[in-house]
């Protein structure tokens, strides 16, 4: 089904809202991961507001699609998305990382509705998501499972254990999204521990791999909707860390740092401009 321009605009606008929430919650928290959170906002908007079947009023609905965030340190984007979707009151986003908050520094399943897994130690989410897809396949359920991993996260051996398993079992209900932003804490991924040729590697593990601009919502929708019979799928999503906030884009120092008050104000005014332009952000890969 063709996507209308209005739908795209809505999703772009939602991505901007998610980015604003991220800035607000990180500034209040005083710690946390800015770049990856901002960089994946378009993917989250597309998933939660267009692709996935889920019900924020009934988060445990058995036949829902499931999303697991394996690179769980970018949970501000997930928390912002869940708030925008109505899983919990939006005013709670300012409690991130504070004592007594349901928004733990890294997600705690059971603490907040909509969290499908706990996470933090890298690679664990991919195996959990694979287990969910396997359970659905065993029971002949229609629900789909989506999982995001960071590219740096793919250094972990457990990632490749899980990929072998998904390939072996032809979990066609499974979609992996690789946040390919080329940066990890110690520098560029290709310097720290080269991943390329990543597409070839994933293909050889039995996946249908689609390279996609992680900021182009129309392309993201097409990629999510593309299916190859009996094959799990990977979206190799090229993203820009810090996307949407000029002074954060592609700056490794923003990986694990929150904006201070002044920086947050600057970021929010940039994002507001973006919104007044109809949410359209430039797609480097176009």
């Amino acid at each position: 089904m063709a996507v209308t321009d209005t739908q795209i605009e809505y999703l772009e606008d939602m991505a901007t809202h998610i980015r604003e929430d991220i800035i607000i919650m990180l500034e209040k928290a005083g710690s946390g991961h800015s770049a990856g959170s901002l960089g994946t906002a378009d993917i989250f908007s597309t998933l939660y507001f267009h692709i996935m079947k889920h019900d924020p009023k009934n988060p445990d609905w058995e036949d829902r699609d499931r999303f697991v965030l394996s690179n769980a340190h970018i949970c501000p984007v997930l928390y912002a998305t869940l708030a925008e979707a109505g899983y919990y009151p939006k005013k709670e986003i300012t409690t991130l990382r504070k004592l007594g908050s349901r928004l733990q520094g890294h997600p705690h399943k059971g603490a907040l509705p909509g969290l499908e897994a706990s996470g933090g130690p890298l690679a664990q989410g991919l195996s959990i998501a694979a287990g969910m897809a396997m359970a659905a396949k065993m029971d002949d359920k229609r629900s789909k499972v989506f999982c995001m991993v960071g590219d740096g996260e793919m250094n972990e051996g457990q990632i490749w254990e899980a990929l072998m398993f998904i390939g072996k079992n032809r979990l066609h209900n499974f979609t992996l999204i690789v946040d390919r932003n080329n940066i990890q804490i110690d520098g560029f991924t290709e310097d720290v521990m080269p991943l390329e040729p990543l597409k070839d590697k994933l293909t050889s593990f039995g996946f249908h791999v689609i390279e996609v601009d992680g900021h182009n919502i129309r392309r993201l929708i097409e990629a999510f909707e593309e299916t190859i019979f009996e094959k799990p799928k990977v979206l190799l999503a090229h993203t820009i860390p810090g996307k949407g906030v000029d002074f954060m884009e592609f700056k490794p120092e923003w990986h694990g740092k929150p904006p201070n008050k002044e920086e947050a104000e600057k970021a929010l005014s940039e994002l507001e401009q973006l919104r007044s332009l109809g949410g359209k952000i430039t797609c480097e890969h176009e």
């Binding site: 130690p121 897809a133 396997m134 254990e161």
Partner: protein, 329 residues
């Protein structure tokens, strides 16, 4: 027979004669099939060790509920968590050195932190795995699981108890770690022996000292108690199969009534059953304690009985510890 065995536990008649010798893992293999029959959500995940972890019968009975993971214990832990979140009751199996040894971080976060309803089965636990040597002798697994919040830790003493535990754990909705050994060990309980998770069972009454044991050392404790009764020493023997949550009441009662405690386990001295008992004793009713365990060293290759003897993990070792603790009473 003039022993002080507690009648209500219906222990095997031939304990002090020539008890049957059956591997505890056989009990698991039969128990998990029964659990599978009782609940269709029970599934088994295994890491290329289907026969030796005794999952072959489950695989044969429920081929569609058996998941071969390959040699990938970390992935297995995540898969099991994900399946549990989707309503399954996964039993995940490998050798205890790898599961929970190699996948501890995954057990901690993917499973325990989220209260995933996963049953972690540590096979070939203890030094009695024998000739394979120290690398394959899981002597630290109780310590590294006992410290995890939300996790129940069970160390059954023989074939029957392992079978009952394997069935029972499916009925509690929380993560469980259970360990059992490879070799044949005496069958000391019977089909009629009551088993309840979290309750320590006083198999033998006594007033002078209590031996609190788990796993293969429960039998050795009973043998030691019989021999010591010949010396006029009255030994209480407690089978503390659930190391966590531990039965504090039974331990405090034993400390108060007998005034001295010996712990006995096929595990390192640090962090295992002995430590768990000592925590309760120290906080509630301090009495002298001695430990029968592997004394902070690695094992080595050898036949199971040779190793148990060398490291004092037998009735002789327990008798020595009892005499020592009584001098401190």
């Amino acid at each position: 027979m003039s022993n002080n065995l507690n009648k209500k536990f219906h222990l095997a008649e031939n304990i002090f004669d020539s008890p049957d010798q059956v591997p505890a893992r056989n009990g698991y293999g039969e128990g998990v099939v029964e659990a599978g029959e009782a609940d269709k959500n029970v599934v088994v995940l295994c890491c290329d060790l289907t026969e030796s972890t005794r999952n072959a019968k489950f695989k044969e009975t429920f081929p569609n509920r058996f998941v071969e993971v390959g040699i990938a214990e970390q992935n297995m832990a995540g898969l099991a968590a994900g399946m549990a979140f989707s309503g399954k009751i996964p039993y995940m199996s490998s050798y205890a050195t790898f599961n929970p040894g190699r996948n501890w971080d995954q057990i901690r976060v993917s499973i325990c932190y989220s209260m995933a309803n996963v049953k972690i089965m540590g096979a070939h636990a203890g030094i009695s795995v024998g000739p394979d040597g120290a690398t394959h002798q899981a002597m630290e697994d109780i310590a590294i699981t006992r410290c995890l919040p939300n996790l129940t830790v069970i160390v059954p003493c023989d074939y029957w108890e392992t079978k009952k535990a394997a069935i029972e754990i499916a009925r509690i909705e929380r993560p469980v770690y259970m360990r059992f050994g490879r070799g044949k060990i005496p069958v000391i309980t019977t089909d009629n022996t009551p088993f309840q998770i979290g309750r320590a069972d006083t198999y033998r009454e006594g007033n002078d000292v209590t031996v609190i044991a788990c796993g293969s050392l429960v039998y050795e404790a009973l043998i030691a108690a019989e021999k010591l009764s010949g010396d006029g020493i009255s030994v209480r023997v407690i089978n503390c199969h659930t190391v966590k949550p531990i039965d504090e009441k039974a331990i405090i009662k034993a400390a108060k009534e007998t005034g001295a405690i010996v712990s006995a386990e096929e595990h390192q001295v640090h962090g295992g059953l002995g430590s768990a008992v000592a925590e309760v004793v120290a906080a509630n009713s301090p009495v002298p304690m001695e430990y029968v365990a592997l004394m902070d060293r690695f094992g080595e290759s050898g036949e199971p009985n040779e190793l148990m003897k060398k490291f004092g993990l037998d009735s002789k070792g327990i008798i020595k510890a009892v005499k020592k603790v009584l001098k401190r009473k």
